[in-house]
């Protein structure tokens, strides 16, 4: 069976960008968590400690995605690493806000705003 693709990841302007795919049901939580943890481990090995997660394709998500983001954050070194989010619709933004993750992660309105801020020289070291 073809492996489900939950996200794509690429380096853009020196920022690790993770673009989530639209189908992120909780029922695939197991595979999603494994995939995101694997990515987090790769980032940790590469010394990447800032990641931008792009939600532009996501209409809604549940606790599994929150758990995946928490794992990614942990792999990036929690307090020292940084997870940023962008392009959340009204429902997704509310879910992040409700879970209080907006207290520890930065939410940007869109990818361009996030990249402008995250790729600025003062964020590179």
């Amino acid at each position: 069976m073809e492996k489900q693709k939950f996200f794509t990841n690429e380096m853009i302007q020196g920022v690790a960008v993770v673009t989530l795919e639209s189908e992120l049901s909780n029922y695939q939580g197991d595979a999603f968590l494994s995939a995101i943890q694997e990515l987090g481990e790769k980032y940790a090995r590469d010394g990447t400690n800032v990641a931008l997660v792009d939600f532009s394709r996501v209409k809604f998500f549940g606790s599994s995605v929150l758990e995946g983001l928490r794992l990614l954050w942990k792999e990036l070194g929690a307090g020292e690493g940084h997870v940023s989010l962008c392009s959340l619709n009204e429902v997704c933004d509310q879910i992040i806000h409700l879970s209080h993750f907006d207290h520890v992660w930065t939410v940007y309105p869109d990818r361009q705003a996030a990249l402008t801020e995250l790729s600025a020289p003062h964020n590179n070291g």
Binding site: Y27, E67, E90, V91, H100
Partner: protein, 300 residues
Amino acid sequence: MTTVLIVDDSAADRALASGLLQKRGGNKVLFATNGIEALAQIEMHLPDLVVTDLQMPDMNGLELVDAIKKNYPLIPVILMTSKGSEEIAVQALRSGAASYVPKKTLARDLSETVEMVAASLREDRAHSRLMFHRMTKSDSTFELPNDLTLIPPLVSHLRQMTRYMGVCNDSDRLRVGVAIEEALVNAYYHGNLEVSSLLREQNHNQYHDLARERMEKPPYRDRKIHVESRLTREQATFIVRDEGPGFNPETVPDPTDQKNLDRPWGRGLLLIKTFMDDLRFNSSGNEITMVKQRSASLDG
């Protein structure tokens, strides 16, 4: 008469597609050369369906599919794919494109594909006319084996029924879907399989390994999830019951407490509590009743 918007930056391909659709008869054809022009045409003429190329300047086919799905969800989009656009076509289909036709077989397949999608559209519209605001009450009961793959279609069905009943707006319907899905996933893992989030806190792989192991063993594998929905125009009630021993919801830690942010606990329940207007458990804690009242904004 089906009105079809053809979007392609190649004049030759526009002419070919247009000729094929008009030859078959019964189709009125509009044109755009990129996604931006296409959106303007849709705004002005509201076509029945869109046939689009994928690789175009300014706004490509994938971006166009996203914009149409967001702003005109009832207009189906058919992709015209060419060599090199396979990856983007897969993404567009995932984003909700209805079908695709390779450009090299356009002459053979385009008219038939458009007719098939248009027929399905007519049927959907007739069904919608029947269902929207004409159904006044719907009760249904489901008995599911403990099978995760049945959760998305059930959630989708219940969301759709909520839509027909007109209980809440689009955003609230997504929230209702999230809440139902959380309740079903809780019933699967914590209820029927009795796998605790404590284990997930230590290692999420062990958590899922134990779930898989228990799916093979009685009594866990034989347990079912029972779902009841009672929908009226005034409120939607959803009841999810598992066959596990139940739990005490009071013991779930507050996931919004700063010290619990790094723990995998209680977020599903938090979403359910927030997205539903009323929530209660039975005395043993293996049944949750969630109620969504009609949004006041719909009456304004």
